[in-house]
């Protein structure tokens, strides 16, 4: 193990180190930063950030609660798998889902998990930025 660590190329150490440092922010903050901005996509998650349109965020209804919990689940997936693994994993599942069902969601286990927990979790964000 010591030889393995010493012989790791610097660029791999850099990638692993940055991935671990990035992962630490998920656990220390423990919830994503929500950005309310009008984009052509209703809601999406990228690592520590969840982007929602004001139309979804400002309507205090069940759909808002579901979308926030759904995106929070994606955040947790990244925290548990680490971004370096979660990103490629999501891409592979997306390709599989597109091949199987024609869209990126229906046969994507990460999306199915987020949909499942979207109906069961409650998430009210503390860190909200508006644009």
């Amino acid at each position: 193990m010591i030889e393995f660590m010493i012989n790791l190329p610097t660029w791999i150490k850099l990638i692993l180190g940055l991935n671990l440092l990035w992962t630490s922010t998920f656990w220390v903050m423990s919830e994503p930063i929500v950005i309310v901005a009008d984009t052509e996509y209703g809601a999406f998650n990228f690592a520590n950030i969840v982007v929602l349109t004001s139309e979804i965020y400002d309507n205090r209804d069940d759909w808002r609660a579901y979308v926030l919990a759904h995106e929070y689940t994606h955040f947790i997936q990244s925290a548990l798998h680490t971004p370096l693994i979660n990103g490629p994993m999501y891409s592979i599942f997306t390709l599989y889902s597109k091949y199987k069902t024609g869209n990126q969601w229906d046969a994507n286990p990460l999306e199915n998990q987020a949909t499942y927990w979207g109906h069961r979790l409650t998430f009210e964000p503390k860190f909200v930025l508006r644009f």
Partner: protein, 138 residues
């Protein structure tokens, strides 16, 4: 697993986060060596390595630093908390089989056998914490 994350108390999440941060730091940056006055030669709390000022200014420093760098690399690989747990198992095993915490400790044996290749490329010395204070008294 999702439920596991949600139900974890914040203090546990914070510890896991700091554990990842320490491991991440160890991949991208050199050990932080803190020189202190103490009876033991060195204490490793990766990424910090506390070294006795007596050792730091002696010929022993090279060997002690290599030994501690071995622990540093193990902590980066396993992450500090997991290495701590493995070390408890290794020390208990050593105590049961040899009557000493270190002589049959597989983590430490692994380091001892690789001392010749364990030269840290760089270290960051955080300073002799006692001497400036002593000097100011003179």
């Amino acid at each position: 697993m999702i439920e596991f994350f949600v139900l974890l108390p914040y203090i546990v999440k914070l510890m896991i986060g700091l554990n990842y941060a320490a491991a991440g730091y160890m991949y991208v940056a050199p050990p932080l060596v803190v020189i202190v006055e103490m009876k033991t030669d060195a204490i490793n709390m990766s990424p910090f390595i506390f070294i006795s000022s007596q050792v730091y200014y002696s010929d022993e420093f090279d060997t002690v630093m290599r030994y501690e760098y071995g622990k540093y690399l193990q902590s980066a690989f396993y992450t500090p908390i997991v290495r701590g747990v493995i070390n408890i198992v290794a020390s208990t095993w050593s105590l049961l089989t040899s009557g000493s915490l270190t002589s049959n400790n597989f983590l430490l044996s692994n380091i001892k056998s690789k001392l010749d290749i364990l030269a840290p490329p760089k270290i960051i010395v955080l300073g002799d914490l006692k001497k400036p204070f002593t000097r100011s008294l003179k």
